[in-house]
């Protein structure tokens, strides 16, 4: 008999998963070696756009250790359906077939054209050199506006256009608000700005890898994937395999951030080759391959128009986006900018809203989900815009936010984009953040530095944000033409000795599900935390699931666990009554014990588990099992929010930015494990700050990625980042029984605009109202020297000066 008195939910439990990770006993895909296993290496195109004239593999075939060489033609007959895209956002969306290996034309630098199979990985890589490919170069299309220009070369000739799809939301048509065009004609202030979201690389630390074993009764694929369940179904569908003959295992996965959400051509390639050769094969990419061949994120141009009255009340928002899809469509790529449609209006009460997004093909690596997917882009746009509007109106940027945000007593609140925010308290989070930050003190210091002409200027950046977590209500996904649902599944097995196995469809890659799920079940069933094992990432044990992305694990997957635990108790109750010879109505349950009200008679979950196992004394008609499973399909998203404040020092003589302090107060609802929440926030902040200051995927004019290694792509190290001050408020979500809201993406979403707003605030008196990300010392210095006009291409086109049509108010 045992009981857990102290609640587990809310406790900063140290993680169960750490033990294997800190001792080097982790099961990474690349660690796996199977008997007779062969190794694959992929030859990738050096050209961004070219016709493949010929491929000669004769010499490679006889290279040491080589077993076989395949080209696109060998592997990928035209009849095959190509790599899947699961999000046809419009009925007329252009969806080019993406082959497993290119056999006709290559459409981005890094696209696979041939694959060598050899006894060792080194031999496979050596033999790549011996493959002779003749390319005829084609004109390369780079840049969103270039791709849409009249007469632009086409990425896919057969589509007749570089435009993938146009997706529109209008509040007047949707009945969620009034007309933006009216707001533009009638408002006192109309402010336009153009912002750019540079292209980023997710840069998970574990490169992608897969091992495929075709030798058993089922084909088994181990993959460093975020989505084992989706991968299983998509592998079957893409290759025409019977789904029940495919098993996918995601062992320990070294980070994803959306970058491992894809179904990979390499996974399909490895499967086909393993089947043909009848042997296990392994593919592991190098970092340089990851940089060009794993999908990228962001890459948008945002044209925003905000309208307001002179007192600061916003009256309308118009968003025109161009989004770069790259050369093909990723699994959910076309939908990523669409997620932003629901977040541009953010925490503000816009009466009118218009959103239009044009997705564009270019000769670059495809883009797809990257931490936050659509929401960081949107939050950046609106939070930069609120700062610009404040300047235009001569208001404090905090004041303009407070004037327009949804007040605590107004929840639930249906926004102009049609979402209903269930709960939130922007006032509380902001008050706490301001106090931790010393907002007023820093404003005073800023003024002093400005007046004294200090070479190091101080700026304050604000980002008061919300996001939508818990992807997603299946019906909402359906209305957006997404091919799959948004539910999640969980199963609880009560073992004879009273120990518990929890099986979850939400497969983790560093988020700590094993710990958090154990806490949930320990609380619900009153069994010790240590007595619970969480099993995930294998489609054989966890046969149903929608996997991990979009901060959905806890708020969808965790709730499925709660529901399954409730069912366990419901099954246990009649057995407990039977064992104690009382009526079910006389029972109460607490801390793992059913007891007869008003007596000391009790029986534990563990006792019932054994009774079920022995099955000698069960009520008639009761099955000998407490095992239960359930599925949760959320009725609504959850809406974490927070206030992020950044103080940045800018050396006006060198352009160097130093983050002096970063304070954030996030409201993620009920935190199951505050330790994990804090860790997620830290990591998210690092990624968002890196977008603001360091990272950018750059192509040269020929379409070669010039930032193709960790030597050129500036992933921040420990010296590049400050310590963060993080805190929480807790306004429970009202649409799930845990009251949780999700946290995985919050830090990334909120921090980028906070940092950029801070830097611009520091140098605005030099006539700067925009600097293109990342804010390198060179760009900042240029902006200081020449105002926004020289700060970056876009700044000169639209950022500098042409802001207001009908407003006075300078940039001071």
């Amino acid at each position: 008999m045992t009981s857990t008195i102290e609640p587990e939910i809310g406790k900063s439990r140290r993680r169960k998963e750490d033990e294997r990770l800190i001792t080097g006993r982790t099961r990474w895909t690349d660690n796996l070696t199977l008997p007779g296993m062969l190794h694959l290496a992929v030859l990738r195109s050096p050209f961004a756009h070219a016709r493949i004239v010929s491929i000669d593999v004769t010499e490679a075939k006889s290279a040491p250790g080589v077993v076989a060489v395949f080209t696109g033609k060998d592997l990928d007959p035209e009849s095959a359906i190509g790599m899947p895209c699961a999000w046809p956002i419009t009925p007329d969306m252009k969806s080019p077939r993406r082959p497993i290996l290119a056999s006709d034309t290559v459409n981005f630098a890094g696209e696979g054209v041939a694959v060598v199979v050899a006894r060792t990985a080194a031999e496979a890589h050596d033999a790549l050199e011996a493959i002779d490919v003749e390319y005829a170069e084609l004109p390369v299309v780079l840049g969103l506006e270039n791709a849409l220009a009249d007469g632009a070369p086409l990425v896919h000739e057969d589509l007749g256009t570089n435009q993938n799809a146009v997706w529109v939301f209008d509040s007047a048509d949707a009945g969620t608000g009034s007309s933006v065009e009216d707001a533009i004609s009638h408002s006192e202030v109309v402010l336009k700005r153009r912002f750019r979201q540079q292209r980023l690389v997710p840069a998970f630390m574990e490169p992608r890898a897969c091992v495929v074993d075709p030798t058993g009764s089922q084909l088994v694929m181990w993959s460093a994937t975020q989505v084992p369940h989706i991968l299983k179904t998509m592998t079957a569908a893409t290759l025409g395999l019977p789904e029940h003959k495919v098993r996918v295992i995601a062992p320990d996965v070294g980070g994803g951030f959306g970058g491992k959400i894809a179904v990979l051509p390499e996974e399909m390639m490895a499967t086909l080759i393993a089947q043909r050769l009848g042997k296990p094969v392994k593919w592991t990419e190098s970092r340089s391959e990851t940089m060009v061949a794993a999908h990228h994120g962001r890459d948008q141009i945002q044209d925003l128009t905000i309208t307001a009255n002179r007192d600061g009340t916003v009256t309308g928002l118009k968003v025109e986006l161009l989004a770069d899809m790259g050369a093909y469509l990723g699994l959910v790529g076309p939908g990523v900018p669409i997620l932003g449609a629901f977040m541009f209006n953010a925490i503000y009460k816009f009466p009118a809203y218009h959103f239009v997004c044009t997705n564009v093909f270019t000769n670059t690596t495809l883009t797809d989900a990257y931490r936050g997917a659509g929401r960081p882009e949107a939050t950046f746009g609106i939070e930069r815009m609120m700062d610009e509007l404040a300047v235009e109106l001569g208001m404090d940027p905090m004041e303009i936010r407070e004037k327009n945000w949804i007040r605590h007593e107004e929840f639930p609140f249906t926004t102009v984009a049609g979402l209903t925010y269930d709960s939130g308290d922007y006032e509380a989070a902001t008050a706490k953040a301001k106090e931790l930050f010393d907002y007023d003190g820093l404003r005073r210091e800023q003024k002093e530095r400005r007046e004294s002409g200090d070479p190091v200027q101080l700026g304050i950046g604000i980002s008061t944000f919300t996001e939508m977590c818990g992807l997603a209500p299946s019906r909402v996904l359906g209305s957006l033409d997404y091919a799959a649902g948004g539910w999640e599944h969980a199963e609880i097995r009560v073992l004879p000795t009273g120990k518990i196995e929890v099986i979850t469809g939400a497969s983790a890659h560093g988020q700590g599900h094993e710990t958090a799920w154990s806490q949930i079940v320990a609380d619900k069933l009153g069994v010790p935390f240590e007595d619970i094992e969480v099993i995930h990432g294998d489609t054989q044990s966890s046969h149903k699931g929608m996997d991990t992305y979009g901060s959905r694990s806890l708020v969808v997957g965790g709730i499925a666990v709660v529901k399954a635990a409730d069912k366990v108790l419901a099954k246990a109750k009649p057995i407990a009554a039977h064992l104690m010879e009382c009526s079910e109505d006389d029972l109460e349950f607490s801390a793992g014990e059913f007891s007869v009200k008003g007596t000391k008679v009790s029986t534990s979950i563990q006792d019932i588990a054994w009774a079920v196992f022995s099955a000698h004394n069960l009520p008639d008609g009761v099955e000998p099992s407490l095992d239960s499973s359930d599925t949760f399909d959320p009725e609504n998203f959850s809406f974490p929010h927070g206030t992020h404040l950044c103080a940045a020092e800018v050396d006006t003589e060198t352009g160097r930015v130093r983050l002096r302090s970063y304070v954030c107060v996030d409201d993620v609802g009920v935190a199951v494990n505050p330790l994990i929440v804090e860790g997620q926030v830290h990591g998210g902040l690092a990624q968002g700050i890196a977008q603001a200051l360091f990272e950018e995927a750059v192509h040269d004019e020929g379409g070669t990625l010039t930032t193709g290694t960790f030597a050129d792509y500036l992933l921040p190290s420990a010296v590049d980042l400050p310590s963060f001050t993080t805190d929480r408020t807790e306004t429970p979500s009202t649409t799930n029984p845990l009251g949780a809201k999700g946290v995985g993406e919050a830090g990334t979403i909120a921090s980028t605009p906070a940092v950029v707003n801070a830097v611009i605030d520091a140098v605005r008196h030099f006539g700067v109202n925009d600097i293109e990300m990342p804010l390198t010392p060179m760009r900042v210095w240029h902006a200081i020297q020449h105002g926004s006009a020289a700060a970056g291409g876009l700044g000169s086109e639209a950022g500098g000066g042409l802001g207001s049509i009908d407003a006075t108010g300078g940039a001071q």
């Binding site: 006993r25 330790l675 860790g679 960790f710 010296v719």
Partner: protein
């Protein structure tokens, strides 16, 4: 070429190609897959091990250079089932998420503490500059290294325990 490397206390003699990198030798020949590869330009530090007591990126050392040397990997740190204090501090301070950078981070941290037994925050950050982590934002790693420094002080005793639990109770309040 025939080389002998003592890995985590066990001598291993093997024929290797002159071009084989130590990390591949460890992973593929000796089976020490706890040491991982994160890049091909010696920038990430995921592959860090100790070579004769000093941290090296094992992707930038040839296996033949390690002939006659002692190599310690993440798998050789725990003794008699007892975690190394740095491993323990990483766990206590939630200094890892996906854990891919962790073996390298821990090996580098141990070397850093050998050089400077009581580093301040900036010294830890500088000492870890060659090791990239995409998950943690480094803050808890820095916290863990400083916590480990206290645990490893000869007279740490109960003081070390107190610091560890202080760290735990600060969670949620943020800040170093």
């Amino acid at each position: 070429m025939r080389i002998t490397v003592t890995v985590d206390g066990t001598p291993c003699t093997d024929d290797v190609e002159p071009r084989t990198l130590l990390v591949h030798h460890l992973r593929e020949r000796i089976g020490k897959v706890g040491t991982v590869v994160g890049c091909d330009t010696s920038n990430c530090g995921a592959c860090t091990v100790h070579l004769d007591g000093h941290s090296v990126k094992s992707c930038s050392v040839l296996a033949v250079q390690a002939d006659g040397c002692e190599v310690t990997t993440i798998e050789g740190l725990a003794r008699d089932g007892e975690l190394h204090p740095v491993q323990q501090a990483f766990h206590e301070n939630h200094a890892l998420q996906c854990g891919f950078c962790t073996p390298g981070m821990i090996m580098q941290s141990i070397d850093l503490l050998a050089d400077d037994p009581d580093p301040d925050e900036q010294a830890v950050r500088e000492g870890l500059e060659g090791n990239l982590c995409r998950c943690t934002g480094y803050q808890n790693i820095v916290r863990a290294v400083r916590d480990a420094a206290h645990r490893m002080r000869p007279a740490a005793g109960p003081e070390a325990g107190r610091l560890a639990s202080d760290t735990a109770s600060r969670v949620g309040a943020g800040g170093e």
